[in-house]
Structures are given as structure tokens and as C-alpha cells.
Chain length 451, copies 3
Amino acid sequence: MARQLSGLAGTLYEGIKDAPIVSPHGHCDPAWFATNAAFANPAELLVIPDHYVFRMLYSQGVPLTDLGIGVAPERRDPRRIFQILADHWHLFLGTPSATWMTYVLEETIGSDTPLGPETANDLYDQIAEWVGNPANTPRALFDRFDIEVLATTDGALDPLDDHATIQQSDWAGRVVPTFRPDAVLDPHMQGWADAVMRLGRLTQQDTQTFPGYVEALRTRRAFFKAMGATATDHAIEMPNLCWLDAPGAVFDQLMAGDMTHAAAFHGHMLVEMAQMSIEDGLVMQLHAGSRRNTNHAIKDAFGRDMGADIPVPTDWVRGLEPLLNRVGNNPDLTLILFTLDETTYARELAPMAGHWPCLRIGPPWWFHDSAAGIARYFDQVVETAGYWNLAGFNDDTRAFLSIPARHDLWRRSVSLHLAEQVDRGYFSKSSAEMLAGLLATDLARNTYKLG
Amino acid sequence: MARQLSGLAGTLYEGIKDAPIVSPHGHCDPAWFATNAAFANPAELLVIPDHYVFRMLYSQGVPLTDLGIGVAPERRDPRRIFQILADHWHLFLGTPSATWMTYVLEETIGSDTPLGPETANDLYDQIAEWVGNPANTPRALFDRFDIEVLATTDGALDPLDDHATIQQSDWAGRVVPTFRPDAVLDPHMQGWADAVMRLGRLTQQDTQTFPGYVEALRTRRAFFKAMGATATDHAIEMPNLCWLDAPGAVFDQLMAGDMTHAAAFHGHMLVEMAQMSIEDGLVMQLHAGSRRNTNHAIKDAFGRDMGADIPVPTDWVRGLEPLLNRVGNNPDLTLILFTLDETTYARELAPMAGHWPCLRIGPPWWFHDSAAGIARYFDQVVETAGYWNLAGFNDDTRAFLSIPARHDLWRRSVSLHLAEQVDRGYFSKSSAEMLAGLLATDLARNTYKLG
Amino acid sequence: MARQLSGLAGTLYEGIKDAPIVSPHGHCDPAWFATNAAFANPAELLVIPDHYVFRMLYSQGVPLTDLGIGVAPERRDPRRIFQILADHWHLFLGTPSATWMTYVLEETIGSDTPLGPETANDLYDQIAEWVGNPANTPRALFDRFDIEVLATTDGALDPLDDHATIQQSDWAGRVVPTFRPDAVLDPHMQGWADAVMRLGRLTQQDTQTFPGYVEALRTRRAFFKAMGATATDHAIEMPNLCWLDAPGAVFDQLMAGDMTHAAAFHGHMLVEMAQMSIEDGLVMQLHAGSRRNTNHAIKDAFGRDMGADIPVPTDWVRGLEPLLNRVGNNPDLTLILFTLDETTYARELAPMAGHWPCLRIGPPWWFHDSAAGIARYFDQVVETAGYWNLAGFNDDTRAFLSIPARHDLWRRSVSLHLAEQVDRGYFSKSSAEMLAGLLATDLARNTYKLG
């Protein structure tokens, strides 16, 4: 279904469409590659884990339980769930979900049956058969997708057993962890104090004291790095960083249950993380601006990440000043910023990345990882930040099958953008060819030190 | 003057340009259709009521009184007013006002005389003659415009006598009221307490008490519904909704003149309105983000709605949470959001409408109801919200003659957008044809329950 | 390298590309034209003064000192600095700096050697030779560039000796000053109280009292006006203007070192400036929304204006109300607003300029003075503000050689925009031709009273 790119855009696309996939940030489950078990069925593969899909269905009146969400796997009816998707497939017209799904069905699964109410049953059978084929296990797909490296995202307390299993296996696929310590850094996270204590046991540090806590984090980072990690990742609703004069006293209060300075402490710890990144070389990622769990009833009934996280305005300039003025001139730091507030592209992120040596602008994220979203991104960041202050592409997905589809959408968008730039007289065709390769793989590889 | 659409855009436009007009929200005066009196003259028809026109002229030094504003009708010189418009017509180059006016003159009035300083006198005569022709009375025009339904906007205390007259007449045109209770919901509105007392007399409820006040509102909604209303409409500068624990106590304070909690009370009452919408099925509209009457001298001399209402940043996410967490998961509620802050399209409204079952995104409003404004709207909302979470089109005008012009501009913009989507490979031509009809009429009809 | 414009855009461009340059706001040094000394060398001409260039290089790890910044001129190695620029020239792909630099090298200097690592040495020699040629002195270039008028920006205490020298010379070039009194209006500026005292000595007013201070400012404005100024210019981070009841008491506090009300005083003084503009006819410019010196280490080591000024969200509506409600309806005032927050184009500035008689929207500024930035500007302001509420173009540069390049980029962008408007059916080709001339020169000339 995707457009046939013509002219220079087509030429540029031809040059990068088959490049290997570098996936430096995402949410695939390492267990898939550790166990290499076949995916369960079409609904578990394409509907239930995809929050883009179920949020749209929910917005048009489909109860989440009808989609198997909040339902024990053994009580789900995958064929019925797939039928519901098909019955509502028109809702996705014009969305990237339609582009990704179509790519998956046509290119990855190889079906020429269009998705729709009448074809759902037949298509379900085709996908089920495909899923059951040993040629389509996670590892086989990883290899066939030509994934050069895939980073997962893993809690600070995760033992990384699946990663160990992968590394000790005879399979050559490169799957690396990413250190995501939100649960031990953000005192507002449920069970924070317990997590801090577990962190202590895991690292044999006394995390009842601030120095022990900091040392435990340093230890954990070293473990992740030893397991192949090249990056950390951090989520925060508002990036209001700060540097506390007496973080230890605040830590003690928090451990005693006094949450007064919880937000400031979280902001402080992100600066500590940046300092550790200078020490250990882990690239730091900051994802900010999502107001989580705005639908309380859904949160209570189904838990987190159920489609009710909504972006809010984000003040990167004032919010990052404490970090930047502490470590931002240090060329050993790489800090990648991800925003959901597109107004900050031209106003804040491009000017900041075009000045601070440590900063890179992450690719369009979440709701903006789409053809028009990518076009707005290039339109608004390149003139001030250039291309080398960008971080390349992330697929940032937990929908494994959509990875090639997402990289393909990015590569098409890159090709269209660069062809337009050449048409505008900004640079030559040979520069565009060089930039296409840069944006398709090299920037991600280099920014994340995955070369 | 409008562009000849070619290719697929032209084909799509041909398919919808003659569809009936569904006008679910606007500010036409029902008295026009009750009395069916001819419009007075070209200035009263095309200049004096059009705040888009007089604000631009004022910005370039034309005193409002020169345009008859703040001048008793009998002391106005309509020919002179029309000449002033013509003398400054170049100011409107590039604005939707030029597109609308040109459409009205060419298509509706049927003149081929271009508007300009030299032609004003002649054109004035042509329009005056046209206005005086019995074929051009309000009802005749309503029928000729092929208006399927037209919603007016009416204060909660309005007796709806004109609507009754229309319904009791032998004319078949469908004109329905809309319940707009700002004057009795917002304690900051001048004369609020008096209006509340009049509300009591009108409904035979004791509106000196909060329960009586609420019941009176319920009664009024039922009356509007009986008179054909399918929707309510609410304006608020900042959508800071809330749910008060003791709204009755706050109501008592307010009635006693203590305005301390006026804003919170207004926010609370909008949640009450949403709850009543679930009961009675009236669709709820919320227009937010306009800072009213920023020019105090103009307000003092000429009153409200004189061109000095200016948009401000709007926080939909936090502002609506109290309403949404109370009633937002109820599929019986339809809440249409209108913004003047385009930064919220992609960041807030599309993600919200793509999750909450009750939400629909209203069409581009006021300053954004223009070709580029509509293009930005589609670019920024569709990828996340799809098409079915939109509310179709509103003309939202008090300039009756401009209604076909405004729908035509929307339909052209829809056709251009959909053709571009097909060109991008997002969906097929047949999907585009289906979506064209959806956007031209069906979405408005269905969202507003006007089918 | 710039695109060959075709079709109507090409025709429109042909009609304005050779129009004289009207430069009503910028930062050229009047000493260049007073002394008419040759520029020093390629690095001093093209690298060291250009903050667009050195900020990008710094962002990619080039120390500022390597570029001669913070280094005494006699210790700089200009050939080495130029080589560094050339070695990193790829970083500028897609930025307006590349467009400007290429224009300067090709069109102004007349070299056909592309900039790059291998060619830097040769190109350096070519530019050095060109710089040393008496045909390329500042005055000769000014004439060859066909600059009709060039405004500089000058502190309130500046004796304007260079301007006097120019005026008394036999050279006919028109260089006018602009009154920029930030240092004496903003108590947060370092050395404010001293500057106020110097202002007193310069004007023979007692600036230890508020009335004397105000009179001194009035006197200084008159001096600037007598020296040819037609405008004032003001920078403020947040445009939070206000009107104090007792500004004299606040002034006394500030002079005594109590900074409590410093921001309010600055806001008040800008309203005083607007009032004086009504008296003396000087056009008022307001540049707001830049957070200055966000990189403290760079500020401490190298001073101000070193690339770490970053835009922040700007609230024009509430911020300007005190000024507008005091003097905004007075047609004798012209107030030009410059924003770095593009979200305010459609939401705030266009609606405001489309109402208030005093307001004009300044052209895209700083990070937005680029092809895509200009396209976004027209897209977002014209439909509501029209063209006559704009202020034409500013090059706003301290890089003298880039002036023709910047006006050329603007004129190309204007031509592309207008051709697209004609293609959309908004207005005729002859209207577009008229508007091209308006935007290229007439609007700037008229808005700034430079006719």
C-alpha cells in the first residue's frame, strides 16, 4: 500500500531500504530471544500488546476486556479479538498503525489478503500458520529482519538472565540491555523504598544511606555495561532537574516516608546519572513530557500503559539548566532528549542541541513517530541543529513484528525529506546520499556507541 | 476566484460539493427565519456583523464608528460603510475573509463585478437590489443553500419564541436551538445572580438554593431538547474544570456576592452539565482558550465581541481531568472540544480523543477556520485520532450569507487533504471517497445526533 | 547552489531580486563605515563574529578558543580558524548558514571554489585577496550591495560619533542609529545604576530622581532622532509589561540597590517608552523570548552572546495588556513585535496585530530566519493578520557580508509563498506582484518611516 517513491526520493530510498536495522531503543522482551518460543497467536502478536491499536478501539467504544486486556491469557479468544480489530479497521485510516500493520501483513507475513471484516477469519488462519512455522521464531525473524543490534529496556533490578542466556547461546544475534532505573530513582514510583532496599541486597551495598545508594547505582550500571549495555534511559513527566546541596538528608526523609522533596530528589538523581555517564560512558536518554495514567478507572482496572498517557507542555530550557550547567560542556557526555511537545523542536531543542556539546535530539517519539510527524521534525529541527546533532532513529516498540515496518517508514520519510532539500537547493544529490545513510543507521550507531 | 481543483482532489470535490449543508453550530439569528424579513442593506449584510472584517479594518486605522459600529442603525450610512470596505479591500488579500466574500459576491449574489474602490458604488447597488428581491429572503436562501439543518446558539433564559414561530410556520426548514447557559453558569458574567433568579422564575424552581438551581438547569435543558436542541455549548477562558465537594456552599457564597470561588464553581458546573448530558443525551460542546475583551476601551465603548478576543495557551490535559475521570469513560457522553491553541492538536487533543470514548475534536475554530488552518488541523490530528474521533465541520458564523462559502472552503480543503493522503499511499481512492462524504456531512450529522 | 525558481515564483523573484536593500534593524558596526578600513581577514570576516557558525561548531566539540573567541586578535591564527570551519562544513548542511555562506562566496566574493577541507587553504587566499582589494571596503560594498538605508543598534549612552563621522563625510550612504536603552532601562543589567548616572551627565539631567531620569531618556531619544534614528529597540526575556502607580518610589529603591521590583520597573519603563514614541514618532521594536546566557561557564569565560541564548515560551497576550490598554489604540504608535516562540504566530501575534492599530508583526527572527522558518511564518500569520500588519524584512545581522544573502533568501521565500497563494486561488498574479514589492522593501520602509 505504501507509496512508490519516485525521482530522487526513490533513488535515495533504494540506497538505504536494505541497510541493516540498528535499534538502539525499544521495549522488546529479551525472553523472546532467550527462549526462542514461537509467538502464541495473531491476537497476541498484533493486537493485545499494541497500545496504539487498543487505545483507538477503546476511543470508539470497544471495551478493553473485549480485546483480551485484563483477561487471563487462557480465557482470551484470539480469533474473536482479531475479528474485532478487523471490524474496526476503518478507524485506522490515516494513522501510522495502518501503515505498519499493512507492511507487516504484506511484507513480513507475505499475505495479499486485505484486512477487513469479511477477511478476518481467513487472515487469522494465515497468520496463525505463519506464526507456527519454525522459520518464524523470534531468532529467525531477528536474523531475517537483518537486525544488527537490538537494545531492550530493563529495570535496574533486573538480573538480565535472558540477556545472559542469549549471550551464552550459539545464536549470534546482538541483543543488549538498557539501564532504566526509574523505579529506584523516582520516589513517586510505587514501592520505591522497597526497590531501594532490593537494590542494596542485589549490590551488597547499604542503601539505607545515600552514599550506599549512589554506590549501588554505580555498581548496577557497571553490571549492565558488562552485559553489553551502552545506554541508560530515564522517564520523567516534567524535566525539572536540580542539584541538591544535601541530597543525603532528602534521601533519609524519603526513606522515612516523607515525600516533601520527592520531585526534587528525582531531579537531582538524574544529574547524578549524567555524572556517572561521564565516568562510565553510558549514553543517557531522557524521555519527558508524558502525563501518565490520566484515566484513573483504567489504571485501577488494568494497570499502567493502557493508552491514557497524554503529552503535556514541556519546558526543556529551564528544566535542564541544572544538569547542563553542571556537566553539559563535557564532551564525554551524550544526552539524548525525547519530547512529546513538538513546539519545543524549533524553539528549544534545536537551539539547545545546536549549542551544548552533550546534547542530541532524539527522533520523533510515540504519537509523532509517523509520516507527518517525521516531516514536522525535520522541518523544525534541521535548520538550527543540522543533522549531526540528531540521534538517528528509534523504533521504540514492544511490537517486534513492526520493527521493519517502522524503520521502513522512517527511511521513506528520510528519503522524501532529503529529496525535497535537494529540490530546494540546500545541498547536492551526493550530500543527500551521504545523509541518507547517516540518518538510516550511522547516527544511531554512533550516538549510542553501538558501532 | 477559488482554485480549480484538479486530479483526485477535483474528483473528490465533485462528489461532495453539492451535498446538503449540515450546520450544527453557529450564531445565526433565528428571528431571520421567524420573520423572514429581507436583510436591510449591503452593509448590514456583509460588513457590520462580521467581526473578521471590522477587526482588520480597525487594525489599519479605521475607527469602528466609521463602520456603523456603536452607531444607531438609523444614523448609519450603509453606502459609505461599504465604500470604506472597498477602499481597504487589499488588506484582506490572503485571508479567508477574501475567499468567503468573493464566493458570496460571485456565487451567491451572482455578480461579476470585482470588489474595489472604483466599483463599490455599482456593486452596492447590485447587492441592494439583490437583497430587496423576494427570492432572497432568509427562508428562500436557506432552502436554496440546501441547508439540511441549522443550529442556532441561545442563552439559557431565551424563550425560544422565534424557534416556536418557525416550527409553527408552514416553512419546512429545520432550525434548532442550542443550549448555551454561560450567563447562568459563570459567576463572572455580568448580572449572573440576577440571571439565576430569572432562571428560577422561568422554571418555577427555587434557584436561591443549589438543588433548585441544578433542577432549573435540568428543566431548561429539557425545554431546549423539546424545542429540537441536540446539543449544549459552553465557553470558558481556561478549561480548569473541577468537582467541588460542597458546591451548594459555594453557590450560597456566590449568590451573596462573595466571588472567591467563582472560577471553581464554573468549572464544577461544567462537570454537572456533562452529567446531565449523559441523562438527557444532549451533546456537549466546549469552546475554550479565548481571552475576552482584551481591549478595555473598545469594550467600554462598544461592548463585547468587538475583535479584541485573543487566544491564549490552553492546558486541556490537566484542565479536563476532573470531568473525564468522573464521566469520560461513559459511552453515552459526547463532548466536543474546540481549541484556539493549535499546539494542542497533536500534543493533547489527538491523543485524548484517541483514548477517551466521550471525546471528539471540533473542527478548526475562528482564526483557524481557513485553508492553511484546516491543512494544519488534518496534518496534526489525523495520525493519532483518525477520522472518526473528529466532529465534522462547523461554520460557526453569524454571517448567514457566508455559510455556503465556508462549507465550500472546508470541502475543498478536505478534498485536497484526502487526495494528498492517497498520493502518500495512506489509503485507496475509494477510502478517500468514503472519507470525503464522512467529513462533508456524516460526521457532523452523527456526532451531533442530527441524523 | 540556491534553487533556480521556476514558474510564477521565478517571475516574482525576477521582479524584486534587484530591488534596493532596506535594512531597518541590524547590528553592523558604524565604525566600519566611519573609518572605511578594510576587513581584517577571512576569519574575522566570516567566522569569528558569526554566532550561528561558532555555536554549531561548539555543539560538535570545537572549543571556542580554537575559533579565536576569547583570544586576543593578535594571537589568533585566522588561516587555522578558517580551516576548522572548512573541516566541519558538513555540519551546516541544511542550515541557513550554509545558504548564506555559499551566497557570499559565490555571489559576493565571486569564487567558484566550494568550501571544504581540501579547498580551505586556497579559498582563504582568494578571500584574503578580495578583502584587501580597495574595491571591497565597507563603503564600496555598501554601495555595491545597493543598500538604501542601514540601521545600526546603539546603546543609549553611545555618543554616536561614528554616525556623525559618516554624516559629515562626503560619502552618501545612509546609515542611521537605533535607540537601544536596555542598559539604562533594565535594572538587572550589570552596572545599571552607573549607567543611569552616566545618562544624567550626558544629558545634564538629575538622574538620581525619577523625573530627571525620564527627562534624560526623552533627551537622549531626541538626540538619536536628530542623528537620523527612526526607531527604538528593546529586549526583554518575558514581555511582562506593567504600569506602576508609583514608579518614582521603585526607582529610588532600585538606585539604592533594592532589586525587589526590578522586573516590574523594566516592564513599566517599556510603557513609558511607548508613550514617548507617541510623542516623538520613533517606531518601537520589542524583541522578547530569549533566555540569555544559559551556559554559565561560557558566560563567565567568554561573555554574552556566545550561542547559549535559548528561546522560551512567550505570553504576548497577557504580557502586553498593560501597554496596549494604555496606548494601543493610538494610531500614532507603531510597535513591532519579534518572537522566538513560533506557537504565538497564529495563536497570539496574528490575532493581536489583526486588531490593535499600533501593532506590526516583525519578520522571523534569529533561529527562524530561514527558508522553512519564513514559510511557517507566512503560513501562520497571513490568514489572520493579512500582509499590511507585517513589518517587512530585517536582516538583523552583525555579519555585514551576509546582508545581500539574507535579503535574497527572504525574497526567494516571498516569491515561493506568493506563487503558492496564487496557485491556491487566493489572489491574482498582479496582486502577487504588488505584494512582492511590498514585502521586499515597501513594508519595511513604511513601517520604520524610512521612506
